[in-house]
């Protein structure tokens, strides 16, 4: 009697679980994960993996818009090595990435440390500070382009009124200044991202460590250098690597401000690839220029992966 009762309850139990064959299939973790990952895999292979293969394919042909092109081997890459504009673009990209990263990190850290204190209106300030990062880059860059306008620049007007300059500065038209102007806008846009990410990192650090160091007689600067900074380093690394990738491949800022000019003074990898691939319609060369970024990006990604793995195993 008792035994049969147990049997029936276990029957109803299994019945409630195994209603449909498909449900039974989804009980298997391998099948369930396959089904769950399928939409992602389809989209990513169609629009990332396939274009990547296609890009490599394009870069070894002489295809133009509407012309399929023939296999030419490494000719496009060889041509790039002798292309003086490409060399300028590589150099500009390196300078642009290095200089902006240093300044974004320095200012971002400073701002994060300021925001990490308690003061009235802190949440409010933090919310407003992120605006340069969330407002569409192209649109806010237009505001800068207007502020840099050769004739009506408000920056020039202010400097002039303060007596700091006597003639107008041609921010974007002067080849020596254009890259600096572009760098300024990139820093302006990037600092909030650094500040907010680093602030999140700072907030995970136990304030008692600071207090303990203070009791031991550490000065504020020592407290920062020996306590806060080492603990903040993992977050800092990830933020920097992210931002390096984004900056290295930047396009919109330069496209709006200078279009790569004057005389290629602000030409970057991406703007040059656009100019050749879309502007002139030399698809294969454009694809080759884009792909030339790949080795550098790969190194950064590998560093990041190794770093994250190390942090996770710690």
């Amino acid at each position: 009697m008792a035994v049969s009762e147990v049997a029936t309850t276990s029957d109803t139990y299994t019945a409630s679980v195994r209603r449909w064959p498909i449900t039974r299939l989804l009980e298997d973790e391998r099948w369930l994960s396959f089904v769950l990952l399928l939409p992602t895999l389809v989209l990513l292979s169609l629009f990332i993996a396939y274009p990547f293969v296609k890009g490599v394919e394009l870069s070894v042909t002489d295809a133009k818009v509407g012309v399929p092109g023939n296999f030419v081997g490494m000719q496009n890459f060889a041509a790039l090595l002798n292309d003086s504009i490409f060399r300028i673009a590589v150099w500009n990209t390196i300078v642009y990435t290095a200089v902006t990263t240093v300044f974004k990190l320095a200012f971002g850290l400073w701002l994060a440390l300021l925001l990490n204190r308690n003061f009235k209106g802190k949440a409010f300030t933090r919310a407003f500070i992120l605006l340069p990062f969330i407002i569409p880059t192209v649109l806010s860059t237009f505001a800068w382009k207007w502020m840099f306008d050769p004739t009506f620049s408000v920056i020039n007007w202010t400097l002039f009124r303060l007596g700091l300059i006597t003639s107008r500065i041609n921010w974007l038209g002067d080849p020596n200044l254009a890259l600096i102007s572009v760098i300024i806008v990139n820093i302006w846009r990037g600092v909030p991202f650094y500040a907010i990410s680093l602030l999140a990192g700072l907030q995970t650090i136990n304030p008692e460590l600071q207090d303990a160091a203070a009791i031991d007689g550490a000065r504020p600067w020592q407290r920062f250098w020996y306590v806060t900074w080492p603990l903040l380093l993992p977050v800092t690394m990830v933020v920097v690597l992210f931002s390096v990738i984004q900056t290295f491949a930047d396009f919109q800022l330069v496209y709006v401000l200078t279009g790569g000019g004057p005389a290629n003074a602000t030409q970057l990898f991406a703007t040059y690839a656009y100019q050749i691939g879309v502007g002139t319609g030399l698809l294969s060369q454009g694809a080759a220029i884009s792909l030339a970024m790949f080795p550098v990006l790969l190194v950064v990604v590998i560093v990041q992966l190794l770093y994250i793995r190390r942090v996770e195993t710690l």
Binding site: E29, K54, S197
Partner: protein
């Protein structure tokens, strides 16, 4: 909390913080002033006696009415809204499932797939836009909103997946096991127990994905060609400039109005946005 003498507080705190806030926000103020300033004042030389660059005595809505009546601006807004919302929903759908599978299920290649998705997360749009334009054309998606709706998920899905993996990992396994002991199928436990707990994470991912789509530029620039299909960023860039002539008043009005939807969403969900931003970095 801020200790020390009054002058120290000013030198080390109030002055630098105000300088940061001023510099970071000034361009937006400038946008606003320019958008409501009449042309006669905009293009007045410095030497004019009554030149006052930081405000205007005669605000006008001319630039905004021009923008709304004479250009396709409202069409661009609707296009961008449609594209951003649809791309975000698709990416959330894929990202939630993928994030769950990668963080809570055991299967072969799980580690490899996770790394693969992380790498696609780091692929910048400028690396692939030329071959991708070809692919989009071959699929007959060129110059339609679907060209963007289907390609934006390539950077949104990895982001959502990565962010949500963090959220799913933090949910204790026991919750799911309890539901399974009570007779729930595995997918039911996932759908009714785990997903509702992860709602804050899903919201963060969605808001961040929406702003990323609204912000995207190069795909929209390359894949769309007819003026009526364009997004706000591209429309403002290409259609409000005739040759070398910039209509700064309407350009700034366009920049201002084009930012409102993102700013609006952001203002309601600041905390979620920040959680998305920092979660994405911490992984």
């Amino acid at each position: 909390m801020i200790e020390g003498a009054k002058w120290r507080r000013w030198v080390f705190f109030y002055i630098p913080l105000s300088a940061f806030v001023f510099t970071l926000l000034f361009p937006f103020y400038w946008m606003l002033v320019t958008a409501v300033r009449p042309d006669s004042e905009l293009y007045r030389p410095w030497s004019a006696p009554n030149y006052a660059p930081f405000w205007t005595a005669h605000p006008t809505l001319d630039h905004i009415t021009y923008l709304l009546q004479e250009t396709l601006f409202s069409t661009w807004m609707l296009n961008t809204l449609f594209i951003s919302i649809t791309a975000t929903l698709i990416s959330l759908f894929c990202g939630i499932f993928a994030g769950y599978a990668l963080s809570r299920l055991k299967f072969r290649f799980a580690g490899m797939l996770g790394t693969g998705i992380f790498i696609t997360y780091l692929v910048p749009q400028t690396l692939l836009f030329i071959p991708l334009a070809d692919v989009v054309r071959n699929f007959h998606l060129g110059d339609t909103p679907w060209a963007l709706i289907l390609t934006y998920p390539t950077f949104l899905i990895p982001f959502c997946t990565w962010l949500l993996m963090g959220y799913f990992k933090a949910i204790p396994r026991e919750l799911e096991e309890c539901a399974r002991i009570d007779g729930a199928a595995r997918w039911q436990a996932m759908l009714y127990i785990i997903f509702p707990i992860a709602v804050p994470g899903i919201l963060s991912a969605g808001i961040f994905a929406f702003t990323l789509s609204w912000n995207e530029f190069i795909y929209a620039l390359v894949f769309l060609s007819s003026p009526a299909q364009k997004t706000v960023s591209v429309g403002v860039t290409s259609e409000l400039i005739r040759g070398d002539v910039f209509y700064w008043g309407s350009l700034m009005a366009g920049a201002l109005l084009g930012s409102i939807p993102v700013a609006f969403v952001y203002s309601f969900f600041v905390e979620h946005y920040v959680a998305g931003l920092t979660g994405a970095v911490k992984g």
